[in-house]
Amino acid sequence: MKERRTSKYTLPALLSSLLLTLTLTLHGQEPGEAPKPTLYVVDSLSLEPKQTFFQGFTLSADIFGPIQKFVSDYGVFEGSLRINLKNQFFPVVEAGYGICETTNEDTHISYNTKAPYLRAGLDINMLKNKWQDNRLYLGARYGISKFDYDISGPELTDKTWGGSAPFSHKGISTTAHWVEFIAGVQVKILPCFHMGWTVRFKTAISKGVTDYGTPYYIPGYGTTTSGTCWGATYNLSFDLNWGRKKNKTQLNAVVHPVEPSINAKPTEKEPEDKEVGKKAEEIKNTEKTE
């Protein structure tokens, strides 16, 4: 982000002028008498960063899913769109395409599916300082996938009653739903570029059980070999600043009236003024990092 050089000079100037501001008003005035000035002294100053609610979009791509597909029988190709709200709340939509092509060596049963899935949810930045470049997330997702799968294997033989038939069933249609609980981190690697990972604990609401049994693999969820499922993503993210307004600094001043005196001394407030100056410097640095 381009550094705002003007703030280096304008901020101290603004502070100095406010500390020395004398506001004159007219009150308690007798007829024919010259108006008496009332002196107001700045009691305290505070500079608060006023961050806009909407901080932009982030586009992400998962690189763990394709690697998983390369080294195993299943994997996903996934992207996500995240909305940044005050660097704390991140509503997110994740869409992907899950693929599973597996044949068990012992039973010779094959399972194949290729289908899209969708997840939606919210991440929350758990770090105390929300405005630093790194983030630690906790979040949750609801996922859904409507998919068809094929199963096939050796022919079924009835040893008691006799007879045999091929075991091959294609295009079995079903829908699965699940929820995920997420922990993850994200670090800034370049301006507008982030890298991070998530681990996901998944539990199925419905595994889409059909007359043929429970699907072995649900796109976006994973395998159904256990009651619950663990997953992971490794994301590369790019910040989009569409529609984002620039953050501003808000100056708050508390004043109190004093007796009019030419030699009004604001020296008692000096230590506090120094504190305000430090805070202003901190905020200025924060603005720079943005």
């Binding site: 630690l136 981190v185 429970t214």
Partner: protein, 201 residues
């Protein structure tokens, strides 16, 4: 909220929990993976009983058998599925009949409270014959069902599950028969109640 200086320890804890949890996962193949229809025995008052008689069960299979019966006064009657010419030469009279092809699947058991019997994979109606040692007549059971190929997990193999549609039987020793659970799978639940005539008391 988590301070930045606690970030790394927090991540280590989360990662460790994930690793440990992942290590605990295992497959869910059923230990008893035979699919059978479970027939439980009751008296007429719905008390669970063990059958006191000696019981054999045969099933009627598709196709027919030719049965040759040889009789001679003063001698034991002989039945055979193949023709025996030597018996005719000895003076036996031959009687030829055609019967349903059958197979005995339970041979002379007693004191049992239930039976686990297979269902046909590719027929939608099974006929079972209960043979009793103490009475001459047999009871015939008719079970109508659907068949559903089933794969739990690829590593667990394939099965044929069934859904029982209706049951009926003759009433020589059996008073009534009813479905208690129509889903026939490897869970081992009671599927059919057979109520024999008489009470436990």
């Amino acid at each position: 909220m988590i301070k930045q200086n606690k970030l790394i320890p927090t991540l280590l804890v989360v990662t460790s929990v994930v690793m440990l949890s992942a290590a605990c996962s295992s497959n869910n193949c059923p230990l008893d993976n035979s699919v059978s229809c479970n027939y439980y025995f009751y008296d007429s008052q719905d008390h669970a009983i063990s059958i006191g008689d000696t019981l054999s069960v045969s099933i009627l299979l598709p196709g027919h058998d030719t049965l040759y019966t040889y009789r001679l006064a003063g001698y034991t009657t002989i039945e055979s599925r193949t023709r025996i010419d030597s018996l005719i030469e000895q003076g036996y009279k031959e009687l030829v009949s055609v019967t349903r092809h059958d197979s005995t699947i339970i041979n002379q058991v007693s004191g049992v409270a239930y039976l686990q019997l297979p269902m046909a994979y590719f027929n939608t109606a099974d006929t079972l014959v209960f043979h009793y040692a103490s009475i001459t007549n047999n009871d015939t059971l008719y079970i109508e069902h659907d068949n559903m190929p089933h794969v739990g997990l690829p590593e667990c193999g394939s099965y044929m599950f069934h859904n029982i549609k209706s049951v009926k039987s003759t009433d020589y020793a059996i008073e009534r028969i009813e479905i208690s659970n129509p889903n026939v799978n490897y869970e081992g639940k009671e599927n059919i109640k057979i109520h024999f005539a008489g009470t436990l008391e």
